[in-house]
Structures are given as structure tokens and as C-alpha cells.
């Protein structure tokens, strides 16, 4: 299992702030997790549109980044703090 987290618009669009997700195969990547999430519900397709960022274990990652059992995988829009 991996831990999915969402923030800001991604959280509001999916209405899921955090949940566990089984890893479907060995050597998964962020791209694979996105495929799984898009199939979860139509709102996930909207939420994962261009511009959404991903952090694996709180480090910002590209789609090619590996995702392993127990990882925290977060999706959120570009930041607007300060």
C-alpha cells in the first residue's frame, strides 16, 4: 500500500484528502499511480490535469520517479504562499 495525499484544489475536486492505495505492480512510478487514480473516478482525471505537482515522501518528483511500498505520494497545484 501507498499513502495518497491531496491539497488545495486537488483535495477539493477529488474530495479525498488522504487514503491508502494498493501498488498494482513492482517498479511502479508516479505515472503508474496517476493511471490508477484516473480510473478511480472521473474527478481524478480533472484533478490530475496539467500543472498538478507530485511529491513522493515530501520531495517533489517527476512522473518517472519510482514509487515503492509505504511511500507517501502527494498531489497538489502550484504553490501560492507568502
Amino acid at each position: 500500500m501507498i499513502n495518497i495525499k491531496t491539497f488545495a484544489q486537488v483535495r477539493e475536486v477529488t474530495q479525498e484528502a488522504g487514503f491508502s492505495l494498493p501498488l498494482e505492480k513492482a517498479n511502479s512510478t508516479v505515472a503508474d499511480v496517476k493511471v490508477t487514480l484516473r480510473m478511480r473516478a472521473p474527478c481524478w482525471g480533472e484533478a490530475l490535469d496539467d500543472g498538478v505537482l507530485c511529491a513522493v515522501n515530501q520531495v517533489l518528483c517527476d512522473d518517472s520517479h519510482p514509487v515503492a511500498e509505504g511511500d507517501e505520494v502527494a498531489f497538489f497545484p502550484p504553490v501560492t504562499g507568502g
Binding site: 491539497f7 488545495a8 520531495v59 518528483c61 497538489f76 497545484p77 502550484p78 501560492t80 504562499g81
Partner: protein, 158 residues
């Protein structure tokens, strides 16, 4: 060095005094206080809400301050960021830098604020009455700016 997130009102004076106590021999101290403005490009607003990523936000702020200290040879640097509901005119963020000379202190504080705006996982919603609207940014700009966050916070600093 300090980086901290709080949901309670910022106590600017206390932060300033703490920085001064931490490095009493500093030749130059610069502070920045960012406060909620009562308007945006669409008109008046009635306050904001700031969402953060618990853990990652603190790590990003810590990394940012550590990098600023190394890059500008600062004697010390602190950052405190408020989250949650914040009224108009209230402080949102405070940055303090201490250095031997004024240019480093100014440059360090500017750097922390520039990168903070672009690369710390905080999201701002602006309220017009009950209606909250997420502040938008250009994803393209932001992707580039966030690149530095891709280095592990525990990894080697460049």
C-alpha cells in the same frame, strides 16, 4: 536557524528580539513582514485561508533557510509562516536575516521571500464574503521554480 509554521497570530517583536539575541554581534539585521492586503486584482477581499502540507512545508522552509545561510554567508536566518484563516492586515510571514554586512542581510531576506513564494507548499484562498477562490499561478513558471525542491532535503547542498 529556525523555520516554523503556526496557526496563531505572528509575534513579530518576539521573533526580532530572538534573532538579535541569537547573533548579538551581527553588523546587519534585515526583517521582512508580509501582511494580508485587503484587495486583489478583482477587487476587495475579506481575508484569506492558507493551506499547507504538514511536514513538507516545514522541511521546505528549513531547507530554504539553510540554503540562504550558506549562499549569502549569513550569521543566522529565521522564517515563520502563518497558516489557516487570516484576517486582512494581519502578518502572514516573517523573515529575519543577520549578517556581518548589510548587502548579505538584504540579499538573504529577498532570496528567502522569492523562493518561499515559488517553492514552499502553501496554497492561498482569498475570500470575498463567504466565497473563497484559490489564488492561481502560472504552472510553467512554477514548475521551474520548484525544481530546487526536487533535491532531497536530507541530501547534499550544492
Amino acid at each position: 536557524m529556525g523555520a516554523c509554521i503556526t496557526s496563531t497570530p505572528l509575534t513579530i517583536t518576539a521573533y526580532h528580539e530572538a534573532l538579535q539575541r541569537a547573533v548579538p554581534k551581527a553588523g546587519a539585521i534585515v526583517t521582512f513582514t508580509g501582511q494580508v492586503r485587503d484587495y486583489n486584482q478583482q477587487g476587495p477581499i475579506s481575508g484569506i485561508h492558507l493551506e499547507h502540507y504538514p511536514g513538507m512545508t516545514e522541511n521546505a522552509l528549513t531547507k530554504l533557510v539553510t540554503q540562504a545561510i550558506a549562499r549569502f554567508s549569513l550569521l543566522d536566518a529565521h522564517v515563520v509562516h502563518r497558516i489557516g484563516d487570516i484576517n486582512n492586515y494581519a502578518p502572514i510571514v516573517w523573515v529575519g536575516t543577520a549578517a556581518s554586512h548589510r548587502k548579505a542581510a538584504f540579499d538573504g531576506a529577498c532570496y528567502v521571500m522569492d523562493l518561499l513564494k515559488q517553492s514552499v507548499p502553501l496554497w492561498k484562498k482569498e475570500y470575498q464574503g463567504e466565497q473563497g477562490v484559490w489564488v492561481q499561478t502560472k504552472a510553467s513558471d512554477d514548475h521551474a521554480a520548484m525544481a530546487w525542491l526536487k533535491e532531497s532535503p536530507k541530501g547534499e547542498e550544492k
